[in-house]
Symmetry: C2
Subunit: 499 residues, 2 copies
């Protein structure tokens, strides 16, 4: 084997070894460690980060990657991995160390200021920090952007390669045109959907039993993964043989744990199913949009479908007879899909989720392309929530201050959440041509969906660019048409037969 490439892999392996330790230390601080441990653990984590820092910045490593960038003997996925590594090394090298340090330091201060501002519903106190974060983002882009792209295109491209304003404008334009009216027509008919049983108490121990079997049902390998309990659901991994998700059980909101388990399970399976040839390259290091497509496809397209619940719902009824014995499968299905515009992105349902993202995309575009004044952003935010979601924002804590991202300089990141949905629909459309999805799900064979994703997406999906995966699997470039069609079809069917 190529000696240089072998050396490259050994660097990747060393990086993966430290990442494993950092991931576990963070996981443990979140889920298990005693409260009083954080300061000393944080200090020693800093020491260990200092040890780690020498690896990615090793001049020998850069030299190897530089040489491999011109090595025509590499396989396509090897080339792709080298290209991405070279790109990030080049960008890191283009950024003066003091600017990098200042950006980290600003992120810490701004996040703290944001926490306070959100608590006190005081946007004015956060505004100077937001201004600084915007300036810092521009400054960094100035050092790193050698593409000739407009700044917001560059920022978007950093987060999701190939997805610039042209594509996103078309995508969000389509949503504005067809999803906004669809939501209005749904909400007008919502009164016909039965929801009484959703508000009953579902004891946590029985929810736990159901969720464990649900995770197995969708294909999450619990021999190489686990489910822990934590107030915010998330997925993390020590490596492809140890992928962990969290879920939160609330006896008053029983569907929350169900769909967060399927969602995080979708992320987790992507990591578990990766080609062992790239065991030490997490899929999460590639496109976030493709990763999100796997959680959304599992959670929404498959996990909220009637056919998925046909074999599972009787088991749920058996576990909670006091709440569900007089509720039909169709009533259950309608209730778990009932759309309702709300204030908070994190709590949004399938239909409204992308509208929340659209607001953030349009605001970011105005910030970077029109130098929109920071102090006027809350009013802009509130107006868009009125226009797209039809609701009034009562205060900034439930409006523009709700997300942490901007306080940490994460601009251009939100669109990936929406792209994930559209990519999922495009993949699901192709899948439906190749396997009988509903037939398999009705038989209780969710594994058929999992296997298709495994072969078509998970295997190489952590390495190849989104555009290439879509081309190879669906035969065309990114096309949000499938997503909008899927939503219209689904949310029309949801109300059919209701008088």
């Amino acid at each position: 084997m190529n000696e240089n490439y072998q050396k490259f892999l050994s660097y990747q392996e060393r990086i993966a070894a430290y990442d494993m330790a950092f991931t576990l230390l963070n996981w443990d601080q979140t889920t298990a460690a005693p409260r009083g441990s954080s300061e000393t653990t944080g200090h020693l984590l800093g020491v260990l980060s200092g040890e780690f820092y020498q690896i990615p910045t090793d001049p020998e490593y850069r030299k190897i990657v530089e040489e491999l960038s011109h090595d025509e003997t590499l396989a396509p996925d090897e080339k792709e991995l080298i290209r991405k590594t070279a790109r990030s090394q080049k960008q890191m090298a283009a950024l003066p160390a003091d600017v990098y340090a200042a950006s980290i330091e600003l992120g810490n201060r701004s996040t703290h200021a944001w926490e306070e501002a959100k608590k006190n519903n005081d946007f004015a106190s956060f505004a100077p920090f937001l201004r600084d974060e915007i300036e810092m983002t521009k400054k960094i882009a100035n050092y790193q952007n050698d593409t000739g792209m407009p700044i917001y295109d560059f920022i978007l491209n950093q987060n999701e390669e190939g997805f610039t304003m042209e594509k996103l404008d078309a995508f969000f334009g389509m949503l504005r045109e067809r999803i906004v009216p669809l939501l209005k027509s749904c909400e007008a008919k919502n009164g016909k959907i039965r929801t009484d049983f959703m508000k009953k108490k579902y004891p946590v121990d029985r929810q736990r039993t159901f969720n464990e079997s649900l995770a197995k049902h969708i294909g999450f390998d619990l021999n190489r993964g686990l489910i822990a309990e934590y107030m915010h659901p998330f997925t993390t991994q020590l490596h492809l043989d140890d992928v962990r998700i969290t879920t939160y059980y609330d006896e008053n909101v029983f569907d929350s744990a169900i769909f967060s388990t399927i969602h995080e399970g979708g992320h987790a399976m992507f990591e578990q199913d990766r080609d062992r040839k790239y065991a030490f390259v997490p899929a999460a290091a590639n496109s976030m949009g493709i990763h999100e497509s796997q959680s959304r496809l599992n959670e929404n397209m498959m996990g909220r479908s009637l056919s998925f619940w046909k074999p599972l719902y009787p088991k749920l009824q058996e576990l909670f007879p006091e709440n569900l014995s007089d509720v039909t499968l169709e009533e259950f299905w309608r209730a778990i899909n009932r759309p309702q515009a709300g204030l908070i992105r994190c709590d949004a349902d399938e239909l409204t989720y992308c509208l929340h993202i659209m607001v953030r995309y349009e605001i970011e575009k105005k910030i970077f392309m029109e130098d929109y004044p920071v102090e006027k952003l809350p009013a802009l935010w509130n107006q868009m929530y009125k226009d797209y979601l039809g609701i009034d924002v009562p205060d900034d804590a439930h409006g523009i201050l709700q997300d942490v991202h901007w306080s940490d300089g994460l601009f251009g990141y939100f669109p990936s959440y929406a792209l994930g949905n559209a990519i999922a629909a495009q993949l699901y459309h192709t899948m439906a041509k190749e396997i009988d999805i509903d037939g398999e799900l009705e038989k209780g064979n969710a594994e058929a969906v999992h296997q298709w994703l495994c072969e078509k997406v998970h295997h190489k999906g952590g390495i190849m660019p989104v555009g290439e995966i879509l081309q190879k699997v669906t035969g065309e470039d990114f096309n949000p048409q499938y997503y909008v069609d899927y939503m219209e079809k689904k949310f029309t069917a949801l109300y059919e037969g209701l008088e």
Copy 2:
């Protein structure tokens, strides 16, 4: 501050940062990680160990320690820390790398062979490995022993500085003379101790409630530590602000979790209470005997005393009225102290524990000082169990094959378990002159005992040699007389008033 010493501390800190990661990875593999993760985690752990290895073996580090060895400006505990570091560096350097590697490799093979031999009750299959381990231990001692000591003294001194055959012969001689007959006289009267309630069922959830409050009662800081459940009780630490113990709940053996919690809590408090000046030097890196004294003092001297249970027993009765409402405090106290010779060291009670150790000490002495033939060891073992514990060993699996230690080359290690008991008794004797132990415990103030230990032992006990601690705290050298006196007094009192 001394610049060289500052550099030394920064090496210690880096070592502590890796240790934290290794400890957590091991803890997680034991208590939480999915089964299928072990191979990949093991591989990446190997990679990370390779990264770590460069620190303790750094020539610059050796040079600093060498220079500090002659630095008269250091404080006494700083000198002691440097002395120990220099000693282990010197010993490591004296051992050829290939011999070291061969010893690790032999340990892995032998441990595997021991597991099989124990399972199949087949000492003969393990004998060649045991012979190799003995030869390897001699070989290593030949490289490292520059003291002129006889080999077994050198081995003992490696485990517990200052404790050679002369001291241990006197110690175990005293045990043989006074504990062996004491055990016989106790067993003759055991029929008078009520034990019916010990065999009842104690539901695990209520045991858990009691044990959490018990851990707090003895002074284990749960803000900087935690209790997890695992089949073998042990203590581990990420650092002094994150010390973890495990316990195992068996509804049929309710006192097992209680005393293992107090035992491990004793270890844990020693780590939590260390001087922050040496935050990154675990107490466990110093004497194992002094560490064990803290677990034994808490578990036995304090934790099995009548005064300790006076305020706690009513709470236990309240939790388990169906089992304990007709059992008096004295009946409970007698039952948890009732001695009974058994086959297995790990299950041994307070009175018999050291006799198990005595067997191992005498056998090791014969191995290294008399070249006693390996094939004759089982017969020797069985004869000693008959002589000291009065019981017949039915097979080697329950005899000489019960412990893992020798298969991993751990000779000279067992005596520390016994020394821990004797050191504990010596400390407890002094403590009783300085505070009213029984009075405080009866008031429910176990914190008085904890505070005394904290100040006299825990603060510097992880740095200073055992002999020095004993001199400073008790005014004399190691003296096992206190231990034997304590046992005689306690096990005489236990049967008083029983007709």
